[in-house]
Symmetry: C2
Subunit: 231 residues, 2 copies
């Protein structure tokens, strides 16, 4: 079929938006850049994609090299190609996002010399980031705001055992609005996707709340038709 066609390769980068949830706030994982362009700026973990790796593989590799994190399932968000987004020329980037259980066991250990450190930043309080990374993060938030209505992504962000209040706070953080406690609980328990545990919260100086787990068998079914909390 071919007719002496030249061999060509796409040159482009991939960026990772990793979100976490802690203390009632959404966090995003940023790295401190140690190389030009945007040396000393904070930005998303991102780099050029190799010629012989899929984009899906590339984001995993990049995330590992820049943070030490492994085994995170990432989904494609959007491809950004503004003419001015990269100082070295028009270089497009394919952005991916993922959500992560932010427990204390997670150690951030960058191995690449391209970054100096990695840190969780509150989404509400971001500095000016490298490239168009502020915009990429904004677009991720729009996406998960819609997605959390019909996908059980909440459970990716919470610890394995969580309280109903934590679950509600997560929805409130993502949607940036308050929900009614009684209605929220009624509705959530009605979906029948939570397992009530014989365990309670520890280390709080007030009445401890029951802990729940996510019932994996039931979630897929329940979330197929979408859920919503208007108030």
């Amino acid at each position: 079929m071919q007719n002496n066609l030249p061999h060509i390769q796409s040159i482009f980068t991939a960026d990772c938006v990793i979100l976490g949830f802690k203390e009632g706030e959404l966090k995003v994982l940023l790295v401190e850049r140690n190389e030009f362009p945007f040396k000393d700026f904070w930005g998303l973990p991102g780099f050029f994609v190799d010629q012989n790796e899929t984009i899906d593989d590339a984001v995993k590799r990049i995330l590992f090299e820049y943070t030490g994190l492994k085994g995170i399932f990432m989904e494609q968000l959007y491809t950004f190609g503004d003419l001015q987004r990269h100082p070295q020329g028009r270089i497009i980037t394919v952005a991916y996002y993922a959500m992560l259980r932010l427990d204390d066991a997670i150690k951030l250990a960058p191995s690449s010399n391209y970054v100096r450190s990695a840190k969780w930043w509150s989404i509400k309080d971001l500095p000016e980031l490298a490239f168009d990374h502020n915009r990429i993060i904004a677009k991720t938030l729009e996406k998960i705001r819609r997605k959390i209505s019909h996908s059980p992504i909440a459970f990716e962000l919470l610890p394995e055992k969580f309280t109903l209040t934590q679950l509600q706070q997560l929805y409130e953080a993502i949607w940036e609005k308050k929900l009614d406690k009684r209605n929220f609980r009624k509705k959530m328990l009605n979906y029948d996707v939570l397992k009530e545990l014989d365990e309670k919260q520890k280390g709080v100086s007030y009445r401890a709340a029951k802990l729940y787990k996510f019932d994996k068998r039931k979630y897929a079914k329940a979330f197929q038709n979408g859920i919503n909390f208007s108030k």
Copy 2:
């Protein structure tokens, strides 16, 4: 800030999925390729993006050159980067999609030598297409199946004046399921986004149906919270 960094440019293509609706069926616009690779195959309008045009501009240009169509608002769908998708090397493509009123006035007039002709194909009856274009179309359909629940995209696909039955058939075509006529009408009229006209269908050999127009003022509000038809 920069430090003698080399100039680099991304090489990649953009593809256009243009959907239309006619005779109760979803159609997709394909072009017959006149150049390698995939000469003589049908495929999506698509080509390399220039160095100094945004991706959004590129898809408009490509669509015009390949079909003669102009002024269509396209949205980004997904970026495809499988290692084997392009015979000339790993070339990624950014796919865009749009929906179009398929009236008879639309003339397809390709000006590029890269294509021989352009034609509407029924989505149900596609041949094996160039590259990974079958997969790109499949992904577009998944997308609009979800999107039509919370966005008034139906109106982009219908003629300016349409009957409620046509509107229902569109939903049925996209979701591939039958809906209840009375419930559909009740719900649609309840959204209060349609203007009833003093006009009826013409040229049908049965009772003519009332024509409606889309009330642009009201649609945005109504569709914010999503709509759905389970049956």
